[in-house]
């Protein structure tokens, strides 16, 4: 196999899997994946998944149900079957299956990259049913669109509004604030600046954060509002204009939107995004010229993510040897693709990701999962990968291990690994060697 096409499949995707690239030119193959809307959204497997509003309704039904069971003096165990959990599992299955089988893996890597940039997590805010809709409604539609649109979709989505507790933040001088003596929760105000847009590079002050939180007061949720469930509640909105990073924004829903538009197009936002993209696709500690180039593309196109993704393909740094350590997610997906595992239930993947330290949609903190190899190469984590490779090898189809190795790694397969596979005691042991080989851990 051509070494550039292998490189493209591993660096920009999740390794061999799906339909083999139609084009023999890896750059053409990658560029083609950036055209048109996300194919997942039109796939039949996505057709019956819930909207954000549906998920909010399920969340409410669950709360009522739970209360009713407890009031009747019955144990939750055995009696309480939360709809939220079922929705979580349905979305996990559809989206993981899509990622494992997709023939547009670069597109899919971008989806998970941006979902991690705008982390929502089931660890906080009761958003179990909402994390799936968030991916489909706030992230997937904008991966090759404009960054500002993605910022607005993400910050206005109930998954984010509940995860970072903005749904209950009240302007102290709003009607609700004065009547009920409620006030601000600045969690989303801070993280939308620090993590999602301008970053600490912008040297904003505490006052900027507080003012941003005031602009976002009233941004809340309502299960009646299809599709996403967003609702602006003027009753809770802080009156008066607010200044953020030296710019004044009017009160009202439009003020928050204008402020997010300003933040999304700020120069330090582009620097921050360029750094993260380069780090993700070109390896840890990317060259400064690479970061500068991506930042310039983002600046020139006012945040066109399709253009930035296309620029990645043409970066010399993206075609340097594959030294980046796969995250547990990348490792799991690439292993499932390589081994053509088709019979595993969603619980197999959820359990694996949990045991490897990266449970699905459950990052510990709003800054998401680390994209730094050193965070994933503790000896515990590495041994767990080895054990998983051995476990999963039992599920592989009957393709000879050497064929799997060659179609997955092509010319990157080291002679030592080839020998280890050839001399292994069984097909399962041969695959365990492949999945534990250093070249299979890199992308």
């Amino acid at each position: 196999m051509d070494s550039d096409i292998t490189h493209a499949m591993i660096r920009f995707g999740f390794g061999a899997g799906g339909t083999a690239p139609a084009s023999t030119n890896p750059r053409d193959w990658l560029h083609a994946q950036l055209k048109g809307p996300d194919p997942a959204l039109a796939d039949p497997s996505f057709a019956n998944l819930p909207s954000g509003a549906d998920a909010l309704q399920a969340r409410r039904t669950d709360a009522v149900q739970r209360k009713r069971i407890l009031a009747a003096g019955k144990p939750l165990k055995g009696n309480f079957k939360p709809l939220s959990r079922a929705m979580f599992l349905g979305d996990a299955k559809a989206q993981l299956d899509w990622t494992i089988n997709t023939s547009a893996p670069f597109r899919e890597r971008l989806v998970w990259f941006w979902a991690n940039h705008f982390t929502t997590s089931i660890r906080q805010g009761g958003v179990e049913a909402l994390v799936g809709p968030f991916m489909r409604e706030a992230i997937r539609p904008h991966v090759t669109g404009n960054f500002t649109d993605m910022v607005l979709a993400a910050e206005r989505h109930p998954a984010m509004l509940l995860y970072l507790a903005n749904a209950f933040s009240v302007g102290p001088n709003s009607r609700a604030g004065l009547r009920f003596h409620r006030g601000l929760n600045e969690n989303l105000g801070r993280e939308c600046m620090e993590l999602h847009t301008v970053s600490l590079r912008a040297r904003y002050t505490q006052t900027d954060v507080t003012n941003m939180a005031k602009l976002l007061t009233g941004w809340s949720v309502n299960p009646q509002n299809q599709p996403t469930g967003f609702m602006f509640r003027p009753f809770a909105h802080e009156p008066g204009p607010q200044t953020v990073l030296g710019h004044q924004f009017p009160p009202g829903e439009a003020g928050g939107i204008a402020a997010l538009r300003f933040l999304a197009t700020h120069p330090t936002t582009y620097q921050s995004l360029a750094t993260k993209l380069a780090w993700h696709f070109c390896g840890d500690h990317p060259p400064q010229a690479t970061v500068d180039h991506l930042a310039a593309v983002l600046t020139d196109t006012k945040g066109d993510l399709g253009a930035a993704s296309a620029a990645l393909i043409d970066l010399p740094a993206a075609w340097q040897p594959l030294t980046k350590i796969k995250t547990p997610f990348d490792y799991t997906i690439s292993l499932a693709r390589a081994a053509r595992i088709t019979n595993a239930p969603v619980g197999f993947y959820l359990g694996t990701l949990r045991k490897l330290g990266q449970p699905l949609w459950a990052a510990p903190l709003p800054n998401g999962w680390s994209d730094h190899g050193a965070d994933w190469t503790g000896s515990d984590a590495v041994l767990a990968r080895v054990d998983f490779g051995f476990t999963a090898a039992a599920r592989a189809n009957s393709t000879p291990p050497m064929d799997i190795a060659r179609s997955t790694l092509g010319p990157l397969l080291r002679p030592a690994t080839e020998t280890a596979i050839a001399t292994a005691g069984s097909p399962r042991e041969a695959l365990a060697m492949l999945f534990a080989a250093p070249e299979f851990q890199r992308r």
Partner: protein, 400 residues
């Protein structure tokens, strides 16, 4: 091997600890009989909720709804009191084995969790540092830098323990285990790799040590159960029991780092803070029990990246602040009192009219502990905490 590993995991109750749990542990060996345990509370503990300055005349006007009733507070001598969930710490305080240090903060003021957590672990107020101060400490111990047997339970090595000195970790992941021969072949295949070669070798060594120590007859039989912890909520007590057993073992690890989550109480703080505080409290008591006689040579440092706003926010919680509380606990700790220069809560005394003002530097506390515990020279201490001459080590933290 498979059966033994499963047995070891069930012995420790570790089968119930998922990677998604809120507690993580890493351990490292070091050439010393002194034990140091660092507990990182990730997410910013509200210091004034844990150690309540109820005697301050401005407390009620700032945060009445966050102050438990006087009758529930655990008094610490007339001005401060522990949160009602800190029962075991209160008992240890009365034995002079707990020292709260109040109004303390790192040198950073950004109120960013992520940057502040990194600084807390690197000990250096500068981005991009890749080694933690505990790792640098191990390198400064006599014949330091040896690759010893170490292990981690739960996934991931915290920045605190990363660096030039190799530290192993091991997690009972619950996957099928290859045979020893296949492990050996996999180790050989990875040997030339700079990241995976050492990691696999250390992991296998750790697994064997872990195995030998924890499968030995239980050391619990002759320890005192007077401070038996309540049932665990977030997993810290379970990990604490494992850590205590290993830290106490001859030739076992000597350094432990826990990371506990659940402190970022932007909303509904009164309800949400109780469980993590009770978990912290139970875990410290469990460590003491599991350490047995080794408690006398153990110091526990509990710290968090910053404090929270003095005033209650709009959702019955608190937002990111500045100064907070840290704790020392252990057999040698000069406890039974509060260490603080209390800045007061008059709004004119608050940092930026918002947060408890810092009057002590967290680096001074950490430096004071390791200097007293390991008798480091000033030069060695400066290598562990470079560029920290503005934060001299605190004295009088441990009894001689």
């Amino acid at each position: 091997m498979n059966i033994a590993l499963t047995r070891r995991a069930s012995l420790l109750g570790l089968a119930t600890i998922a990677a998604a749990g809120r507690a993580k542990l890493a351990l490292a060996s070091a050439p010393t009989e002194q034990r140091l345990v660092v507990v990182l509370l990730r997410g910013a503990l509200d210091g004034m909720a844990a150690v309540v300055p109820y005697g301050d005349p401005n407390l009620q006007s700032l945060r009445a709804a966050l102050v438990p009733p006087q009758s529930a507070l655990l008094d610490l001598g007339g001005f401060f009191a522990f949160h009602p969930a800190l029962k075991n710490l209160h008992a240890l305080y009365q034995k002079n084995e707990v020292l709260p240090v109040h109004a303390i903060a790192g040198p950073y003021r950004t109120r960013s969790h992520f940057e502040a957590q990194d600084f807390l672990q690197t000990g250096i107020d500068q981005v991009g540092i890749t080694s933690g101060w505990l790792n640098r400490l191990i390198a400064e111990l006599p014949s330091g830098g040896v690759t010893g047997q170490g292990l981690a339970v739960g996934m991931g090595m915290p920045l605190l323990l990363r660096g030039a000195t190799p530290v192993a970790s091991y997690a009972p992941a619950g996957f099928a285990k290859p045979s020893p021969a296949l492990y050996a072949n996999i180790a050989a295949l990875n040997r030339p790799d700079p990241a995976f070669g050492p990691a696999i070798a250390e992991g296998l060594r750790a697994a064997r040590f872990d195995h030998a120590t924890l499968d030995a007859p239980s050391m619990d039989d002759d320890t005192d159960h007077t401070m038996a912890p309540p049932p665990q909520a977030h997993g810290f007590p379970t990990l604490a029991r494992a850590a205590g057993t290993l830290l106490a073992a001859p030739g076992g690890p000597r350094i432990a780092a826990f990371q506990l989550e659940g402190w970022d109480t932007h909303g509904n703080q009164m309800n949400l803070l109780h469980a993590p505080l009770a978990d912290l409290d139970a875990g410290i008591a469990t460590l003491r029990t599991a350490l047995g006689p080794a408690w006398a040579s153990t110091t526990i440092l509990v710290m968090t990246e910053f404090g929270r706003t003095a005033r209650i926010n709009g959702t019955h919680g608190t937002d990111h602040g500045t100064a907070t509380v840290a704790f020392l606990a252990g057999g040698r700790v000069a406890g039974g009192k509060i260490r603080t220069t209390w800045p007061g809560l008059n709004p004119t005394k608050l940092f930026q009219n918002r947060d408890l003002a810092p009057t002590a530097d967290i680096r001074s506390l950490a430096k004071g502990v390791i200097q007293a515990q390991f008798h480091l020279t000033p030069a060695a201490l400066a290598r562990v905490f470079p560029n920290s001459s503005d934060a001299p080590p605190m004295g009088g933290l441990l009894r001689a």
